[in-house]
Amino acid sequence: MNTRPDVVISVKHLTGGYGEREILHDINFEVRRGEVLVIVGSSGCGTSTLLKHLIGLLPPRVGEVWIEGENLLATEGEVRTRLQRHFGVVFQSGALFGSLTVSENVALPLGEFTNLPDAARHYVALSLLEVVGLGGSAHRMPAELSGGMQKRAAIARAMVMDPHILFLDEPSAGLDPVTSAGLDALILDLSRYFGITFVIVTHELLSINAIADRVVMLDQQTRSIIAEGTPAELRRQTGNPAITRFFNRKPDPGQTIQTR
């Protein structure tokens, strides 16, 4: 069980990966209610894999993921569905359903899990789409939207069930700086006003500095967490070159082509 009431996610001794390949080893951290936690690390170090473990898509080899006092992996059937309704997920690609319009995508969970009348479902979906700046595209098909617009529609869909927790995988990837800043502001506003907890995988330093209450940094070599703290605390850490390179956007010396 969670030890403190303000802890909404608790990851305990999680070791996981794909098949025989171990990507994460003995991961431990907690996420507090209403905070914005950002998971960072170099490409291929397992940030997206960790997110899959957290949302229950990929069972870890060892360890536990507790969400709102429930052991996610031990739940099944109705309990699992109810727990899953407490969180929304925005996948890297947006993962909108290609055969539904944008507003139908957003309204889909409302039809399944609420007793809202048809017109009200459409209205709620439209309202959320306007929040993410897509009111004018509600009746278009996902294939007609740009990558950034698809991602914003996916955020609206993830928000529609008033989730307690939102998991976002690379929300800023492929977005222009203005849209990206808009997304950051929205995340902060939702977190501050509705108390939504955010767990975000991103590599955008500007976003990390703007929105993160706390950062968890994964390391490819040790396959575990090498640093945890506020962005300012991590920037101040000079002892570990991997952290310094990440936060100062410096290349790994072994990966650069020496031109001199």
Binding site: A120, G133, H139, D162
Partner: protein
């Protein structure tokens, strides 16, 4: 339209999270004189409670002629986007279209969010709902689209035929390793299903024909029927339809997926013509393997019919003699000629549909389906032309 940003962060205080679904929201409506209505909202308004409140307000407010609606939301705790949408709907006069609406008692920050919503215009999205076309319009555009498609397909088949003819003089234009791979995938691997179906169809025709022919003591004519049908019609047609369903759809799906993954664009930017690089090999493979498979189908069909005749007591020399009288070399030639054209059709149409693949995850499935439907349609159309020509020429 840009993002709608909620009010400045300083206004917020962290609120404890909503526990679960148990919370509820209620509305008390007080009807005053002169069409004025006062509504008091209270409770916790989240996506799970908003539906009941929405219906309640709909029932209480919609049937009345209301000129002024005064909403007291002092006791309301709004906990998400669903609640915001309901308040917005109330303020926009959604339940009371002719009434002036005032909403009191909202926390200032929530009031500010709603204001931002309204500034962006509620109906920005609804205004863009496309009007459905009328039935005559739909029929007209469908016929026009169909005619356009047939024209495109026939044109593409022609282009491919021209390209292949040119490749005869420049064999180095074809990537023969790829042609071989495609022949194996589309032809050799299709042998079991083609042979089984042809054999079974031969058996079916034999059995079905034996009873009526027996009434005239003419069961030996099953040999004529099977021989003629298998060589002139069933062989080429069945092979082509099977290949259209199996390999034509695969061509469309392969090229369609490559288009979605921008592999076709990559080919173009490298200076390689996707049509020559991808389609030509597939059409060449289709053209080579269809006649070969057709011969196989003919043999399997005849074998099926022969088995029926043997079971009826006819000897092999008799069956052979009867078939030899009826089926001429020219019939086999016509059957093989058809199979060449059919092979060209299914492979070219499969490629064309692949190139025409749209965007999104359903596009590849649509292309594969269209490839099969269009190929079968064109194959039967071409067969009709062959049959008409044979009739006129007396062949």
């Amino acid at each position: 339209m840009g993002w709608i940003l909620f009010p400045a962060r300083e206004l917020y205080t962290r609120k404890p999270m909503v526990e679960t679904i148990q919370a509820s929201a209620e509305a008390d409506a007080h009807i005053l004189e002169d069409g004025r209505v006062r509504v008091r909202l209270r409770g916790n308004l989240d996506i799970h409670t908003v539906g009941s409140l929405w219906r309640e307000l709909e029932e209480q407010l919609r049937p009345r002629q209301t000129f002024a609606l005064d909403v007291d939301a002092t006791g309301l705790d709004v906990r998400g986007g669903g609640g915001l949408a309901l308040l917005r709907y109330l303020r926009a006069g959604g339940f009371t279209p002719h009434a002036a609406v005032t909403v009191r008692g909202l926390p200032p920050k929530l009031d500010e969010i709603l204001q931002v919503y309204e500034d962006h215009g509620l109906n920005a999205g609804s205004a863009n709902v496309p009007r459905p076309p009328s039935i005559p319009q739909e029929i007209g555009s469908s016929v026009r689209a169909l005619a356009g498609e047939v024209r495109e397909e026939v044109g593409f088949v022609g282009i491919m035929a021209g390209e292949l003819a040119a490749a005869l003089f420049h064999p180095e234009r074809l990537r023969w390793a790829e042609v071989k791979r495609l022949c194996i995938a589309a032809g050799v691997n299709a042998l079991p299903i083609v042979s089984l179906l042809s054999l079974l169809v031969g058996l079916i025709i034999g059995f079905e024909g034996s009873k009526p022919l027996a009434q005239f003591g003419a069961q030996i004519f099953i040999a004529d029927m099977i021989g003629f049908a298998a060589v002139r019609e069933l062989g080429p047609m069945m092979t082509a339809i099977l290949l259209a369903g199996r390999s034509g759809a695969a061509f469309a799906a392969e090229i369609g997926t490559m288009k979605i993954d921008e592999e076709l664009s990559a080919l173009s930017t490298m200076g390689l013509d996707p049509m020559r690089f991808l389609a030509l090999q597939r059409v060449a493979a289709g053209l080579l393997l269809t006649p070969l498979l057709t011969v196989y189908t003919m043999v399997a069909g005849v074998l099926g019919g022969t088995l029926v005749l043997l079971s009826l007591g006819f000897s092999l020399p008799v069956i052979y003699h009867e078939m030899a009288i009826r089926v001429h070399l020219s019939d086999i030639g016509i059957g093989l000629g058809k199979s060449v054209v059919f092979g060209l059709i299914f492979s070219a149409v499969g490629c064309l549909r692949g190139f025409q693949t749209g965007q999104g995850p359903i596009a590849v499935g649509v292309s594969a389906t269209r490839a099969v439907v269009s190929s079968i349609f064109l194959i039967i159309l071409a067969d009709t032309v062959f049959a008409g020509a044979a009739f006129i020429l007396g062949k």
